[in-house]
């Protein structure tokens, strides 16, 4: 056997001794996000956003003089898997903070776990209102806009475009589709809209043409839809084929037309409007810097997931620096009512329900790109605090 170089051995020993010491000093943030499967493109944006912010924070001295280390685990968009992975991060890796969950069910489930182990978490993607309403948790924060913020802004804009419109609602036939339609219909009704009828088509429908008779017969001014992915491609292009897009304002959920399917929809997407918490088109110096850094690093535009995931690192930094530690109680106190800077501008974490308040933009597609056509201020879009648990 060849003798081991004593110099090399000494170097190894020093390095081994140094690694735990460095790990002691690092702040660990666990990220449970979908890295495979249908939601992998969302997880990719989450990862990019967080890595970019972490790099910037670490280069400018870290948080409380400590560097941030991100530990990724695959959520697989399944609450059961998310809890398992989060448990590992909390119990084995002793992470200081957890984030990244996409599926709303995962966020709720991991939130319960966080409460049990006495740690804090934040979601940057999940839309379900319940996370910061009837199922709110003292250990869970949401830095992105929830579904009702988006629909409130969109409803206000639609009423401005077509006062007292007749609205037809078309959603995919599962929980998300039904809840988004119900929420938007309730808002439109408050604003004086007439109900032109509603329809729930199976997820993954090939042909929407059998329903066009019903849509035509409704003589609606506005169509609201919350279909997503390939369903949006088929619905909008088939509506265009049958001449249904003329004389009708088509609006929908923020996930209906995305960078993933906008090319396939082509000019059938023109005129489609939606409410979002972020768009790369926001015209502020902070956002322009962010978009430019994001593009240089990843050769693509950030979407709302990337922007809010970038923002959560600064949320944590601001809170930890205000608290002076990463202790759960101190950190929670610091996060409540915190104001911090994000690509969207300053956000406020409402103390009452841990929901971020931010302006919501109404965007409309024109020639394959989203244009900002309206902006609703944070307070109006946010609505009442419905959390009664803390």
């Amino acid at each position: 056997m060849k003798a081991i170089n004593p110099f090399l051995a000494a170097t190894m020993i020093v390095l081994c001794a140094a690694i735990p010491a460095m790990a002691e000093e690092m702040i660990k943030i666990g990220v449970v996000t979908p890295l495979t499967g249908t939601y992998a493109p969302i997880g990719q944006q989450v990862r990019w956003g967080m890595e970019l912010a972490t790099k910037e924070v670490n280069q400018s001295g870290g948080v409380l003089g400590r560097q941030i280390q991100l530990l990724f685990e695959d959520e697989e968009a399944s609450p059961a898997v998310a809890v398992q992975r989060a448990e590992r991060l909390f119990e084995v890796e002793h992470v200081d903070f957890l984030t990244g969950t996409v599926n709303s069910g995962s966020t709720l489930a991991v939130g319960q776990l966080a409460e049990r182990v006495g740690r804090l978490m934040a979601t940057t993607v999940s839309f379900a209102d319940s996370i910061t309403a009837d199922q709110c948790s003292p250990n869970v924060f949401r830095v992105n806009a929830r579904a009702s913020q988006q629909s409130a802004a969109l409803a206000a804009w639609v009423s401005g475009q077509k006062p007292n419109p007749r609205v037809f609602y078309l959603g995919p036939d599962y929980e998300m589709g039904r809840s988004t339609v119900a929420a938007f219909a309730a808002r439109m009704k408050d604003l004086g809209a007439q109900d032109g009828g509603e329809l729930f088509a199976p997820l993954g429908s090939q042909d929407y043409t059998p329903y066009f008779g019903q849509i035509r017969a409704a003589r609606a001014d506005v169509l609201y839809t919350s279909v997503a992915g390939n369903d949006s491609v088929r619905l909008l292009t088939q509506m265009q084929e049958f001449g249904l897009l003329t004389n009708m304002l088509v609006v929908g959920a923020s996930g209906t037309v995305t960078s993933q399917n906008i090319k396939a929809i082509g000019d059938a997407a023109n005129g489609f409007g939606t409410g979002v918490g972020y768009t790369p088109a926001i015209d502020t110096p902070e956002n322009k810097d962010f978009v430019q850094h994001f593009q240089t690093s990843y050769q693509t535009d950030p979407d709302l997931y990337g922007a809010d995931s970038y923002g959560v690192i600064y949320f944590f930094k601001a809170a930890a620096e205000k608290a002076g530690s990463t202790d759960t109680a101190a950190l929670r106190e610091a996060m409540r009512g915190l104001r911090w800077m994000t690509p969207q501008g300053e956000k406020l974490m409402r103390a009452g329900d841990h929901q971020a308040e931010q302006p919501i933009y109404v965007v409309r597609i024109d020639g394959g790109a989203f244009d900002i056509v309206g902006k609703v201020d944070g307070g109006t879009a946010l609505g009442a605090d419905l959390c009664t648990r803390f």
Binding site: F200, D207, T209, G213, R234, T237, E241, G243, K263, A264
Partner: protein, 298 residues
């Protein structure tokens, strides 16, 4: 009276037109399956994958610069060659295993489907793609809006079905196909080149399926798992029509899509699939062999 005619003109007639266009789509998607099923007795689980390959191929050719209508015959040729090679190089080798034939071919084509699907994903990415509608615009007939491309689909579909029927029932090649489907040994002993007929029939089935994918892509868009869309419906059509019967597939395709389109006027969309399956169960109870008999057996 006015109400009745309004209902006929603005509700029933457009709905039946919709059913007709969907019928053409379903029949096109099922033709290849029924031919392969009827002659080779192969349950082709890669059918959906061939459908997707046809669509992707059309998209690739379009990007190279071919006009959409011009590239359709090219898709047919390439897909036919692809099918012939697959049959010659793979399927043929597991065909002779007697009783295990169904299992071996099913496993082989299922594996093939996975490979093709992942290859599509690797080459074209996971994003939804769509070739531009080659014949945009619409015609107004009796107050109904009929998109031009759907009218083209209906005419093209009818032509393709007629051509296939002529080939199967009126040509020497078709007679050999039917003979081989009826009794392979007997056909071989009478001088029918069974191996070549198998290869050519598989090629025909794959080419038709690929053509269906290419024709329907502008309407239904293209993505890696698009083949799953029509797989179930195509199998139902083949079973209701009678295994391997071309006439049966055409009749069942139009029947089931009309049922689906008209049913959606009165019941919630989620009941579409259960109604189709109920029709299938009913047909199988009344006529276990399907509406029409097996290829080569009638």
């Amino acid at each position: 009276m006015q109400e009745t005619s309004d209902y006929l003109q603005f509700v029933l007639a457009p709905q039946m037109f919709t059913g007709l266009t969907m019928g053409v789509a379903v029949v096109l998607a099922a033709l290849g399956l029924t031919i392969i099923f009827g002659l080779l007795d192969v349950i082709n689980m890669a059918h959906g994958a061939f459908y997707a390959v046809g669509a992707y191929l059309a998209l690739a050719l379009e990007r190279v610069g071919f006009g959409y209508i011009v590239l359709l015959p090219l898709v047919v040729l390439v897909m036919a060659a692809f099918g012939y090679l697959l049959q010659y190089g793979l399927i043929q080798h597991v065909l002779t295993r007697g009783r295990d034939r169904h299992v071996t071919t099913l496993m082989l084509t299922l594996g093939l489907a996975m490979v093709i699907e992942d290859a599509n994903r690797a080459i074209f990415g996971v994003e939804t793609l769509r070739p531009a509608n080659p014949i945009p615009g619409s015609a107004a007939i009796f107050g109904m809006v009929l998109p031009n491309y759907r009218l083209f689909l209906i005419s093209a579909g009818i032509l393709i079905v007629a051509a296939v029927m002529v080939v199967i029932y009126r040509t020497r090649f078709g007679a050999m196909v039917r003979a081989a489907a009826f009794d392979r040994q007997m056909a071989a002993s009478l001088g029918v080149p069974v191996k070549r007929i198998y290869g050519l029939t598989f090629a025909l089935g794959v080419a038709l399926t690929g053509l269906a994918g290419a024709l329907l892509a502008p309407v239904y868009s293209i993505f890696p798992t698009m083949g799953h869309d029509f797989l179930v419906m195509a199998f139902i059509v083949v079973i209701v029509g009678g295994l391997g019967s071309v006439t049966g597939a055409v009749a069942a395709g139009f029947l089931l899509t009309q049922v689906q389109a008209l049913a959606s006027l009165v019941v919630s969309p989620v009941w579409g699939s259960p109604i189709i399956l109920a029709v299938m169960v009913f047909v199988l109870i009344m006529r276990p062999g399907g509406l029409f008999g097996r290829l080569g057996h009638v």
